[in-house]
């Protein structure tokens, strides 16, 4: 508990001083604003270019605006978040920052939990703010059929859980690999390679990427198996990370 508290504070200080909050909020909220505007302007620009009425090609309403935002989140914001957090343990290990905490009897599990909680809360907060902003902008800029705020928050929840899975993956790779960037790239490679697999057989129900499919439908319907499976995987990955961090040799 002592280690947990000390590291939670340390992570907040570090994230603030190294502009991580700023990077993540920009990386998430920027698209919440930019996507609806782009969707509004793009057809107009193309029409002006091509001198033709293209409205039948673009079915843009408030729902599709939010779905587009979800796409940007998964493709770009996810990448940013993973790269920001993938150094979380590898930097501590390769730059020998743990010599003092460990030699004073600090608890590896306390540190891992503190980091996971910090990185998760930051991400979830950013995602919810992002969805709220996107909802607001989509309603201003775009007309047509919309989603209710409840539906939008459901999507935010599902996307958040998918991100937490990514954050846990980044943590274990960060504890195993020397460089944060390598850990980030491996995490992204694993995440992306799971996307095509998530449609196959039993994975259709269990693979975390199906959270995104559900988010696109603004519905929790039939998501219990994938939510359960994802939470179990996250717990298992974090437990493994704790084990690894209590075994790893700290060379001073």
């Amino acid at each position: 508990m002592r280690t947990f508290k000390a590291y939670l504070k340390k992570e907040v200080l570090e994230a603030a001083r190294q502009y991580r909050y700023l990077i993540i909020f920009i990386g998430v909220v920027f698209f919440a604003i930019a996507t609806p505007i782009m969707l509004r302007l793009l057809p107009k620009l193309l029409e002006a270019q091509m001198n033709a009425d293209l409205s039948s090609f673009f079915t843009i309403n408030r729902r599709t605006a939010i779905q587009n935002y979800i796409g940007d989140l998964v493709e770009i914001s996810y990448l940013i978040i993973i790269l920001v957090f993938s150094g979380t343990l590898s930097d501590e290990l390769s730059f020998r920052k743990l010599v003092f905490p460990y030699s004073k009897g600090g608890s590896p599990a306390g540190m891992v939990f503190a980091k996971f909680l910090h990185n998760s809360l930051t991400t979830v907060l950013a995602v919810f703010v992002g969805f709220a902003v996107n909802y607001y902008y989509a309603n201003i800029v775009i007309s047509g059929e919309g989603a209710s705020i409840n539906e939008v928050m459901t999507s935010a929840l599902l996307v958040s859980l998918y991100f937490l899975f990514g954050i846990s993956l980044a943590m274990i790779f960060s504890s195993l690999l020397k460089k944060g960037l390598t850990a980030g790239i491996v995490t992204l490679a694993v995440s992306y390679s799971m996307i095509p697999l998530s449609g196959l057989g039993v994975l259709k129900k269990l693979a975390p990427y199906n959270l995104i499919q559900a988010a696109n439908k603004f519905s929790m319907e039939g998501t219990l198996p994938v939510i359960t499976a994802t939470i179990i995987m996250i717990i298992a990955i974090i437990a493994l990370t704790c084990y690894r961090m209590s075994r790893v040799e700290i060379i001073s």
């Binding site: 200080l13 001083r17 010599v99 003092f100 905490p101 030699s103 004073k104 700290i250 060379i251 001073s252």
Partner: protein, 308 residues
């Protein structure tokens, strides 16, 4: 206070520590002397719980180290060779972090911060980011950090190696002050002079083996074999050859016009050596008896340990 028996550490096939044993008594400053790569840092990392070991026993105050690791670690402090902190923190912030980790209250963190920063003379720089400290400041801050939860034993891994002479003296003075206050200190170095200044016991580590453990005084008594320095005008080789064969002489070394004669029996040499030199007919510039110091002992033990 700390008893190590048959400690073995392997990295794959490489045996870095080959079964070392020693005992550190409460209140002593224990010097751990060895060249680069001898295994000092590895030993330190084991004794401070950072890495595991393959064989052997470590007991701290009679308690098994592995079984009581967390509790024991709260009683010791470690100053690594190249200390690393969270560079974006100020000294105050880092100490607060370490204090919380050790379960100290906010109030005692505040008080203790001033105390330890005073001890190492860093109060003025305490608000600055630690990342901007000089090497000497980092080393001193590391000592402050390791002292923070008032440990009873301190491990210092080559604390003076990277410092300029002034910084070295500061650290040695600090060690002496801590010794006065009754702190037990385990201190590794490759600088013999540091050992002579602050330690009362020592082990010499060479390639993963302890070649000797002793207190400084009896080591000197036991191993000091006087050395005569003779400077000549010519005839150096011939004289050296004559001396080499004598039973009471351990070794003869030539350096330009000087001969260093390591004698085994001081009484015989006092009478005989000067006669032999006189008989040789060489022109003698100087003839001196040098008491050997730790450096000579070290060289003899490590390089020519056939004569231990």
């Amino acid at each position: 206070m700390l008893k190590v028996e048959g400690l073995v550490k392997k990295y794959k096939d490489l045996e870095v520590l080959k079964g070392i044993s020693f005992e550190v008594e409460k209140g002593s400053v224990y010097g751990f002397l060895g060249r680069n790569g001898a295994g000092k840092t590895t030993t330190m990392n084991i004794l401070t719980g950072l890495i595991d070991f393959n064989k052997g026993n470590i007991a701290y105050n009679g308690k098994d180290f592995k079984e009581n690791k967390r509790g024991i670690l709260r009683l010791i402090g470690y100053v690594p060779q190249e200390p690393v902190f969270y560079g974006y923190m100020s000294a105050y912030e880092y100490l607060a972090f370490m204090g919380e980790l050790s379960g100290m209250s906010i109030n005692s963190i505040r008080l203790r911060s001033e105390e330890v920063l005073d001890i190492v003379g860093l109060r003025e720089a305490a608000k600055r980011k630690v990342g901007g400290y000089s090497g000497g400041m980092k080393q001193r801050f590391a000592i402050a950090v390791s002292l923070f939860n008032s440990p009873e034993m301190l491990f210092l891994d080559e604390p003076t190696s990277a410092l300029d002479p002034e910084g070295r003296m500061e650290i040695l003075k600090l060690i002496n002050d801590l010794k006065q206050q009754g702190m037990t200190i385990f201190f590794s170095t490759h600088i013999l002079n540091d050992i002579e200044r602050v330690c009362n016991q020592l082990s010499i580590l060479e390639a993963g083996n302890i070649v000797i453990s002793s207190d400084l005084r009896s080591l000197k008594d036991k191993y000091i074999k006087p050395i005569y320095d003779i400077e000549l005008e010519g005839g150096v080789k011939e004289l050296a050859e004559r001396l080499q064969g004598l039973p009471w002489i351990q070794k003869v070394m030539i350096e330009n016009s000087k001969i260093a004669v390591y004698v085994k029996d001081i009484e015989i040499s006092k009478q005989e050596l000067i006669k032999i030199v006189a008989e040789s007919g060489c022109n003698v510039i100087s003839f001196n008896l040098r008491k050997s110091d730790l450096e000579d002992i070290f060289i003899r033990l490590v390089n020519h340990n056939e004569n231990i």
